[in-house]
Amino acid sequence: MISFTAVAGLAVVLGATVILFFLNVTLREKLARSLRPIAAFQHLQRAISLAVEDGKRLHVSLGKSDILSPDSASSLVGLSILERITQLSMISDRPPIATSGQGNLSILSQDTLRAGYRANNTLEQYDPDRGRLAGPTPLSYTAATIAVIHDENFSTHLLVGSFGPEVGLLTEAIDQEKAFSLAASDSLPAQAVLFATAQEPLIGEELFAIPGYLQTGPIHTASLLTQDVLRWLFIASILVGCALKMIGII
């Protein structure tokens, strides 16, 4: 009825849940101080403050992943960031804009923006057009987002989600506008492109650290520490597996 792989998978999920819950409950106070400084996040916080002061817009590009697909986690992180950015820029004259490449993601981005306004009791300021479906295919999404980058008065762009190598066209457009860009993707080709083109590229799992560094909530910081614990457990299990293979036990 249940295979060894399924048991192992369930054990990893349950183990991660216990670690996340434990860290969130017991180390709640200490978590906020436990993050190492990363230059990209310091630059991002400065760029957000400057955008609010200068009355310029922030743009969150959520990528093109379907929420039902396995690569949707990066888009969910993007939505967490969008909510936090909405709250941080509430006092600005020009609220943030979110673009996405999937219908369901654009609806969730509208809902996330709405939640941000509702949390601050300013629901009358909410405009659903600020959560846009830019284009339903990867290249139409890119082409339409380039137009958005050039048309609106943005000073900061966050590209967080699932992108292909075509994301290079977005970072190029941002460079032409002399705006700040922080970019992270779960796709390896996109990460390589972003490393060469974005001002502040994030590599690998750094993508999942953004909400924690934007102080979205203690659970996000606990998530980062959970990832660290799981990573060390995986490294140990890989080393043990190698050792057992070398001595011929498995």
């Binding site: 009825m1 249940i2 295979s3 399924a6 990893v12 999920v13 991660a16 849940t17 996340l20 379907d66 039902l68 396995p70 986690a73 990066s74 969910l76 992180v77 939505l79 967490s80 999937q102 219908g103 369901n104 654009s106 609806i107 969730l108 809902d111 709405r114 939640a115 509702r118 659903p128 057009d129 846009r132 830019a134 339903p136 290249l139 082409a143 137009a147 190598p165 075509e166 290079g168 066209l169 190029e172 779960d186 390896l188 990460q191 492109v193 490393f195 060469a196 083109t197 590599i203 690998g204 799992e205 993508l207 999942f208 659970i219 998530s223 959970t226 990832q227 799981l230 990573r231 995986f234």
Partner: protein
Amino acid sequence: MRAPLATAIAIAIGIVVLLGYFVELAILQDIRTLLIGWAVIVAGSATLIGIVNLVLVHWRRVRAPRGRDLLSGVLLAAFLLTVIFGLFLGPSDSNFQRVVTSIQMPIEASLMAVLAISLAYASLRLLQKRKNSMTIIFVISTILFLLLSSGFLATSENRYVAGALGALNQLPVAGARGLLLGIGLGSLVTGLRILLGSDRPFSG
């Protein structure tokens, strides 16, 4: 608590789908298949709603009293023509498909060509823009693996050279696996936050 009912439904469905993934129990599998089927229908409807939103945004741009966007007009005209001919001829009609792909493919190909040029230019500017050890390693490894992938050194019969090349070729594989492992763990924890109800990408 924000949207308690929506959160409870999301958590319950998430747990059932997750269990259905691991436990091969017939009733659990049936419920999982049914729920995923519903999710696919909702996602399809969401795409339609997204497209309506896209059309409305461009319609407002065309009708804006100041700074009218003519390109939005072009988009609306193209959209209308595609919808009318698509409904009239059917999406599987070979002539309809030929017209759409004859427009879409060259545009996408030209965008990819622009991307190739802008990437080459960005690579040239990289060392100027960001002078640190990671950038130097990135540039050196890019050049090295471009050379290796070109097959320039692959024909060497010297077993030491072949061994060294084999070991070098494993480096990107190991690096990619490390990155994917990190992304996998991040995805797992992101999913758990939703299952625990602490992340709610819906306001209910």
